[in-house]
């Protein structure tokens, strides 16, 4: 009994399995398989692209590093040059300043010397005048009397004579 296929069940089985096969082989499994495969290829491609991008990025990174390195070296160089130039300028300025200062000091010294000499000669002149004045006054005081004046004249004459002889 169990080994004899029932005609009704056969009929329904053919019908329903046929429908299932028709629908699923047309709209079911091929769609799923196709999509999974296309997604797989998409993922694979994306991974490949990502890998390439990484390599590219590494390259760019390396190039960038070289550029930065060069720039740094350049910077150091420029800085050094700048320092040198600055030192040079400062030294120059210093030298010039010293020179100028010396010049000014010398000038001042000479000026002072001149002033001093002027002042000294002035003082000398004044001292001479003063001494002449004083001598005059002293002489005037001494020569108020006649004999005195005579004495003086005599002495002076003596002196002149002595010096002539």
């Amino acid at each position: 009994m169990l080994l004899l296929p029932e005609s009704g069940l056969l009929f329904w089985m053919l019908l329903s399995f046929g429908a299932v096969v028709f629908i699923l082989t047309k709209y079911g499994f091929p769609v799923i398989i196709k999509m999974v495969v296309s997604r797989k290829t998409y993922i694979d491609e994306s991974l490949l692209i990502a890998k390439q991008a990484y390599i590219e990025m590494d390259k760019v990174k390396a190039a960038g590093e070289v550029i930065v390195d060069n720039a740094r070296r350049e910077q150091v160089k420029i800085l050094n040059e700048a320092t040198q130039t600055r030192d040079l300028l400062i030294n120059d300025a210093k030298d010039k300043a010293i020179l100028e200062g010396k010049k000014m000091i010398d000038e001042a010294r000479r000026q002072i010397q001149l002033e001093k000499e002027d002042a000294i000669s002035d003082i000398r002149r004044q001292v001479a005048e003063l001494s002449v004045d004083i001598a005059e006054k002293v002489l005037r005081g001494k020569l108020e009397k006649k004999d005195e004046q005579m004495n003086m004249i005599n002495r002076l004459l003596d002196e002149i004579n002595i010096s002539k002889s």
């Binding site: 009994m1 169990l2 080994l3 004899l4 296929p5 029932e6 005609s7 009704g8 069940l9 056969l10 009929f11 329904w12 089985m13 053919l14 329903s16 399995f17 429908a19 299932v20 096969v21 629908i23 699923l24 082989t25 709209y27 079911g28 499994f29 091929p30 769609v31 799923i32 398989i33 999509m35 999974v36 296309s38 997604r39 998409y42």
Partner: protein, 363 residues
């Protein structure tokens, strides 16, 4: 949560022993012999087809879901009615369900001479209903998955759709591709449909409540159709080499010339392959259902052996049923897997390329 199994176990133990006691106290002496006989009948009734979906029996009242009867009789034409019509009167519109004989359990027509004639019967029986249900379920599930893929093809799927994707691609790549070999894509949709059809029906057969529980893949008509379709595909896609190997195999001449001994054996092989497919699935699923029912019957068979025996047997039956349940889940998958794999292998074998032995010798 850890205590849940324990509680469940005690509860089942208690209920089963209680029911056993109740049965034991009933005056069953009179029906004892009948019940003993019934075990075989009971199993056969459950694994064979029926016109209504019997659910349970409460007291004397049978609870079953009536299914439509569609019958064509040569004498009276089409009859379409619900099977519940047979509850009221045994004979309805000249049709009745045979109780004995060749057509036991089937609808028969009683002709003028009083003998039973089987009309053309395409009723929606229990198996047919389950078959239609699982077919619709399968179509819906696969189309939902396909639609999700169509909508968002590049999205990675999660949840049920992700699981189905994994399941489908596993069968596709690990079973169909290596077994069919070259050109497997042509056969993949059919073989996948085959796998999921068998698997769905197997699993639904394991579920004991309403839409499941029918013995669909354990019915020879179902496996017959599946095997026939595989047979057709295998032989239609057979290459020249395949037919040459059958009709003129590479064996000593005397084995094929006067009496075509080897070709005959090969030809028989062509038919035994799908036949084996048919019987394997049928027998495995039938056996699974029978074992489960047999173990359940242990409870009722041992009633008359006294409460102690009955109780211990109930526990044993329960434990064995749990074990067999797990085995059956495995079998549901394995049988679908084997059916698909062997179909794929047969297709692959039918598409052999000629071996280049002879040409090599020539060169």
């Amino acid at each position: 949560m850890k205590r849940l199994p324990k509680i469940l176990f005690v509860l089942i133990f208690f209920v089963s022993s209680l029911s056993a006691n109740l049965y034991a106290n009933e005056p069953v002496q009179k029906t004892e012999q009948n019940e003993e006989l019934n075990v075989r009948e009971f199993i056969l009734e459950h694994i064979s087809d029926s016109y209504s979906w019997h659910i349970t029996k409460i007291g004397e009242h049978e609870i079953s879901i009536p299914l439509p009867v569609i019958v064509y009789s040569n004498t009276t034409g089409w009859h379409v009615f619900m099977a519940s019509a047979f509850h009221q009167s045994k004979v309805y519109e000249g049709l009745t369900i045979a109780e004995e004989g060749k057509y036991k359990g089937k609808i028969v027509e009683i002709d003028n001479k009083g003998s039973e004639v089987r009309p053309f019967d395409i009723s929606i029986t229990k198996n047919v209903f389950s078959l239609l249900f699982s077919s619709i379920l399968l179509i819906v599930v696969i189309l939902v998955v396909a639609r999700s893929f169509k909508k968002n093809p590049m999205q990675s799927k999660s949840g049920f759709i992700g699981f189905m994707e994994m399941f489908i691609m596993n069968i596709n790549y690990d079973v169909i591709k290596p077994c069919v070999g070259k050109d497997y894509k042509r056969y993949a949709p059919y073989l996948l449909t085959l796998f999921f059809f068998v698997f769905t029906n197997n699993v639904l057969g394991l579920i004991p409540i309403f839409p499941g529980g029918a013995n669909v893949t354990g019915n020879i008509a179902i496996t017959f159709v599946l095997a026939i379709i595989t047979f057709l595909i295998v032989n239609i896609s057979g290459s020249k080499e395949y037919w040459r190997e059958i009709l003129w195999p590479d064996v000593p001449f005397w084995l094929k010339a006067p009496i075509p001994l080897m070709p005959l054996i090969e030809l028989v092989g062509v038919f035994t392959k799908p036949f084996a497919l048919m019987i394997r699935l049928f027998a495995n699923m039938l056996a699974g259902h029978s074992i489960t029912l047999g173990l359940t019957c242990l409870v009722f068979v041992t009633v008359k052996m006294g409460p102690a025996m009955n109780t211990s047997m109930t526990v044993l039956s329960f434990l064995f049923n749990v074990f067999i349940g797990f085995v059956e889940i495995l079998v549901a998958y394995i049988q679908a897997y084997i059916f698909t794999m062997l179909s794929a292998v047969f297709i692959g074998l039918a598409r052999v390329e000629p071996h280049h032995k002879k040409e090599k010798f020539k060169i």
